[in-house]
């Protein structure tokens, strides 16, 4: 509904005019809706963190040991990559609002590139873990292995949550490609950028989830001993 929409006017008994908010062209409504969507993400990951904390309470020592065996170097690199990508995303939106469409598109491409690098690093990490016999349905994660319960649960949750986070990253890449298409079609422009605004918000919540996933998995065992790597 990007074309001319003229809002209605309601008149009260004193004859004062009041603008009626229509569903068309409602920037704040779009923003509110997306924030509400993000609250569902909070509840979803909140539920998973709850499950994680549940087993952490039952097996505190094993969680620390399992955490210590994760690769903190790669995890930390990914943290920084996501951090920078949040910046490029934000700057792109800023450029769009200031009228610099070309710069905005460049920034989106940069964000996509960083997202792909993130996934590649994640892939290396998972491969290394697979080689150590720690992967879903594989090696020490099988029911008959004698690895302690706490560690099995830690890694089970680790693959689930980082996997689901990675899935969000992939969706984010898809959304950004779509956004580029919409920008090229001039459906998103310096005057109508709610889609861009919301995809930027999405990217921030993906980052935000990582802000908690990273320390809970990689860092809680950092003091337990063992340097980074397996």
């Amino acid at each position: 509904m990007a074309h001319a929409y003229v809002p209605e006017i309601a008149v009260d008994r004193e004859g004062n005019e009041h603008v009626v908010q229509g569903w068309q062209d409602d920037f704040y409504g779009g923003k509110l809706g997306f924030w509400l969507f993000m609250l569902t993400e909070v509840m979803m990951f909140g539920g998973m963190f709850l499950a994680l904390a549940y087993y952490n309470t039952l097996h505190p020592q094993e969680f620390l040991e399992a955490s210590a065996s994760l690769n903190r170097l790669l995890g930390g690199t990914n943290t920084v990559i996501l951090l920078v990508s949040a910046l490029t995303m934000g700057l792109g939106l800023l450029k769009m609002r200031a009228g610099d469409v070309k710069g905005a598109k460049l920034m989106i491409w940069a964000t996509i590139l960083l997202a792909v690098i993130f996934l590649v690093i994640k892939g290396f990490e998972w491969t290394a873990e697979y080689d150590h016999g720690i992967f879903l349905m594989h090696g020490q994660m099988l029911p008959e292995s004698t690895m302690a319960f706490g560690k099995k649960l830690f890694f089970g949750m680790y693959f689930t949550m980082t996997g689901l986070h990675g899935f969000h990253i992939i969706i984010g890449i898809g959304l950004m490609l779509w956004l580029l298409k919409r920008i090229n079609a001039n459906k998103v422009n310096p005057h109508h950028y709610i889609l861009y605004f919301n995809i930027a918000l999405y990217w921030d919540i993906v980052h935000l989830i990582w802000v908690f996933v990273f320390p809970y998995y990689y860092m809680i065992g950092a003091a337990t001993g063992g340097t980074s790597g397996h």
Partner: protein, 121 residues
């Protein structure tokens, strides 16, 4: 509403970079924290840093600053998650009463026959 209400490009850009610097600094602190402070409660320290980082992101990158309605909604959702944690973790699991007879904790005390399937048949 969707229109361009005078973007102060340079100023907003400066904010983005400042926040980036802050986040990078906090990430660095994440790594040296176990050797630097609160080494006995790494978990708590790490979560504290994460909360500060999240705060920066939400307020500046996600522009929540000044959003009264949305801010209240976010706080409501967070409180709800907090309550779930308090009840499930604080009230229930931390008072786990079934250690001896349980299948789900380590089979050290009793019940070894149930939980640890022998590796060799």
């Amino acid at each position: 509403m969707g229109t361009n209400t005078s973007v102060n490009y340079q100023e907003e850009k400066a904010v983005y970079y400042k926040v980036l610097a802050g986040l990078l600094l906090l990430t660095a602190i994440t790594f040296i924290q176990p050797h630097l402070f609160m080494a006995q409660s790494t978990f708590l320290a790490q979560m504290l840093i994460a909360v500060i980082k999240a705060w920066l992101i939400v307020i500046y990158y996600m522009h929540l600053k000044g959003e009264k309605l949305i801010g209240a909604m976010v706080i409501f959702a967070l409180l709800l998650v907090l309550v779930f944690f308090v009840i499930v973790i604080g009230v229930d699991v931390s008072h786990f009463q079934f250690k001896g007879e349980s299948y789900i904790t380590e089979p050290i005390t009793t019940g070894a026959a149930h939980s640890a399937t022998p590796a060799h048949h």
